[in-house]
Symmetry: D2
Subunit: 349 residues, 4 copies
């Protein structure tokens, strides 16, 4: 069967390497180009020894790419620079399809982008064109899109349990508390003191409280679903694990709604989905039960306060929270089976 | 200087071993008896090799104890059996002082005890006599007490930041969300599948949602402080670390109150305390910064929703959350300097 | 394409669950029966929540199996009981193929078995028939075998680097020091104090020094390769990780042999192999670069003492060290492509 | 009681912070100066939040120090720069006592220094004066020394079990295999990719094989003890833990010597020592049983090959492997009780 020619920009980061891992096991994709600015000239095996056994192109600089040489590119580059790279790419090859894993095209509102990211957007026309790549919510648009903005990891973990409940008016739009915990891969491979083993292992702390950029995506999607402004409380924490996000979410039911309504709404929203699973009422997920897979598990239970419920979602931040969802979107954009190459069961223990 | 003769009941558990660690470095305490029902006859070094280099009494059964042979006993036994042991002990030696680390004497209300622990209390008179051992709150009573009920670890981490704010009417009594995370030592040394390395490492999950027994202590202390019934939402989670509790707490300010009032109230409540430290506004603690020490650190920051704040507390569940606070109480009961033997700085990294 | 009907005996252990994970992604295998004595009646999802999203048979007791209902069975049962189960199985269905992951059929010598395992073998005829399942060494026999004895994890990590060197007389048969380190999954899912998170995390120790049962396999295979008795020094250690074995091996070159000879011998022995990779001279492997994969990586380097070299091998004890090699053997026995279902790249980080 | 005035140079590194932790609990030491070139101007609490609760001097640059302001300085600076700093310090205050934790004064042979460290020594006269700070071996000289060269962590773990056996001619001088494993704090606080949590957790590997600089110290001390050249095989590995070194050591007995002789020799060498403990024959230590303490535990057992034995030593690389031994040396140099401030029991779990 024909394989689509694929480029991965920013292959020297963890989400880039994870894209490689997933595509190596994908029957309809062929990796033809890998970029890594500071590692250009090296083989993937030199940058990531776990990929040494595989036959992969060398890392090059973006400027060395021939944009006509592939049908789809994954962009796993820092926000800010991404928008110019994509503008250039689409100017060079207007048929190119792109899944962007940066934050550059996630916000529809250019003012929100400028406010949260501290600079004016350099490609507002593309920003208007981009489709938000939360696959289960925007499947239809993604199928037709040229540019998909893959959501953030915290965002995916929060949107999947809450958007159906806001849309169907099951829960109140306020207060919503999202207490989220992430593994260290979320911080990337940059050599920072705060990411050292010695600064992370045998410990736990909150960070970015009150001003984490993923909030802007939550605001956009929650407000759209509720059809009014929604501002959730959101606290990210750093777990001493490599992979995994767990979000514990506290919400109030709207008058007359029950936890059974909540469960039924979620179960119905995700019936037949390959990757989003709603657990039986009262059962809660663990990050270790999704490791390495594209699954997002959602559980919910009563709070002891009447009218309140607690939802818990779990996913692997590098898979459903990043590269797995990116491949899921690629599958739609290339008209493949949506789950192709994503059926690996979780790695436990 | 004279050393008080001390017994530790339940020395084969982690809180028991931690009491030994702390008392070995205490200039006014001498460990004269150690019990461990299933390990009776063994030396401490056989049960805990890290204690092999120290000169310690052998483990015996409780029935072998001579209750007149020591001035103070720590009880680190399972709840339920504890109350009978203590009744017996005080009947045999009415001058004995006891710090109980179980849950048996924490609840003043016998009905609450029966409801949460599933059995009628066997020593209601002692339950009435017992002083709740949250040292910073009940110091005066602890000094005069014969029986101190040492608080739970989650409870200490929640009470220290919230009780002063409820008392001074800074925050609303509802909603209060306590999203708490604990290291694995909290589960004790029992050989359970759920505590295996392979079931805990590289993962994270919530447990006991909606019905954890520490809630009963929170209810008692929060309601007392607020002078009305308070029911906090409380979710415990299991961290893949040995030691440490971090509680992330979401509260609403009462009308007219500010985050500066909140900070000032906490700073004033704990001014001069050796072990409870309120961080500068906006700074949040980490569990790794209290490891092995008797410290509880409290930080707070604004939520982006007006009128809401986020508090974070951190302590070592085996020290300030259990054995350290027990020694702190012992110091008061024996009229020692309150911080004696508890001044070790945290072990980081 | 037709899928072979497969049973997994002992599916409630970690190697059983790992077989399920691998076979779920195998295009020519269908899991039709799962056994678990103490968990019989439960679904796999109840025993292993990470497998809940998949459609799998319920766990039953071995006595409930219809031996004619499948073409191949994996036995992941404790040693000792295994031999009787397999005797029964083959008596009921003499066409059945079996890959046994226990130690029961690994030793060809019944006296060695009795000595190391403390009991006489109950099925000596089958023991004589069984083929040792170190795939790269015994591929031809495995293809024709009815009963394959899958090697131990430490053994695979030691045999792969050393047997070609002993066979080709590159290294001396004595001394050989194998300093081996394993992740905790090697201890299985039994609830033992020594496997608790709190007893393993943030620590490291040697165990079973001088009398680990995997030595008996080493003795058999090393002696066979060298054509004389070989007794390696072997020390296993427990790593605070879930998966992975790393063996650091100290050997002496035979007179006239060089490290280049050593490297060339290994490179030639494993040329074209899908799962055994010899790294460039001087480069050494890490367990994290094989996690979740069926790879075994081998590196070697000069010691500073003339005539001595250090070899390091790494594999995932649950995959190439157990269930992955078992599937590799199944593929041969069922005349499939040897790497079918085993091509997943390592999961890093 | 009078406290000696102490400076810590390089207090922003882990061994510097560990010196602070130990001296905070030391009744005869007062920290009067802390340096940290890149962190000058910050408080210790800003650099190490776990030390924020303590009253400590601000970090300054070395050039700001008044060398006459303290009686003893700990140097925890990089090798190479250290020798000039110490030369300057002793020129300014010839009564100053110095414990140097770098490698600059450990080798008595200036040529060996040049060969291993790639540069000529800048202070050969001081190198000749310096005493090697392996306390148990050189106690008498340390008491009188002005400049003590504190040994490396791997070195301490290897020298303590082997030097008495080489001295007493119990074991052969060749072959000696030291397979050593260290926690990540050994790599310091520098922000390097290889020290990231994601590159270390859930994995294990060897490094620096064949050319680790601690070998030069082993060569010096082993050769001195054996009175002939000794070249041990030495392989360091990186453990995914914060603290701890475990060395597994393979040696041959000399003709006529037994394991009982070996045990008796070690037991006699360390009889009465506070910090070096020889375990009963056959019992082996774990790193978790020394965490945070100044202990070194030594165990030994028979190999199954006649005439060979396996020794295992364990210590905390930041304590007995660095800062704890430095304080032990300080105690001797200031004529204090050798164990003052070092009696904390290990922190387990």
């Amino acid at each position: 069967m024909k394989r689509a020619r694929i480029a991965i920009l920013g292959a020297s980061g963890y989400t880039g390497a994870e894209l490689v891992r997933l595509l190596l096991d994908h029957s309809r994709a062929e990796i033809v180009a890998l970029t890594g600015e500071s590692k250009a000239g090296l083989s993937m095996g030199e940058v990531y020894p776990h990929l040494a056994p595989y036959n992969l192109p060398k890392l090059v600089k973006i400027e060395e790419l021939d944009w006509s040489g592939f049908e789809l590119a994954f962009c796993a580059l820092p926000h800010g620079t991404t928008q110019n790279v994509i503008k250039t790419a689409l100017a060079a090859n207007s048929n190119l399809k792109i899944v962007d894993l940066s934050a550059d095209f996630r916000l529809h509102d250019v003012e929100a982008y400028a406010r949260w990211y501290g600079q004016a957007h350099q490609a507002p026309a593309l920003q208007a064109e981009a489709v938000y790549g939360l696959t289960e919510l925007y499947r239809r648009d993604i199928k037709k899109a040229r540019l998909v903005a893959n959501p953030g990891c915290y965002t995916t973990a929060s949107i999947l349990p809450l958007v159906p409940l806001l849309k169907k008016r099951i829960i109140a739009h306020d207060p919503i508390v999202v207490d989220a915990k992430s593994g260290v891969t979320g911080a990337g491979r940059a050599a920072k003191e705060s990411s050292l083993f010695t600064e992370v292992a045998e410990g736990f702390h909150a960070y970015g409280v009150g001003h984490h950029r993923h909030m802007s995506e939550l605001d956009q999607e929650f407000s759209k679903a509720a059809d009014r402004e929604v501002l959730a409380s959101f606290t990210p924490h750093l777990l001493p694990i490599n992979r995994g996000i767990l979000a514990t979410i506290y919400v109030n039911l709207r008058k007359g709604k029950t936890i059974e309504d909540t469960h039924a709404t979620l179960a119905s929203a995700y019936r037949g989905e390959d990757f989003v699973k709603v657990l039986p009422l009262g059962q809660l997920p663990s990050t270790r039960h999704v490791r390495g897979s594209n699954l997002c598990l959602i559980g919910l239970t009563k709070d002891r306060q009447k009218g309140r419920i607690i939802l818990v979602s779990a996913l692997d931040n590098l898979v459903k929270g990043a590269s797995g969802q990116a491949v899921q979107n690629m599958n739609l954009m290339l008209d493949y089976d949506e789950s192709l190459g994503l059926t690996q069961a979780p790695l436990f223990p």
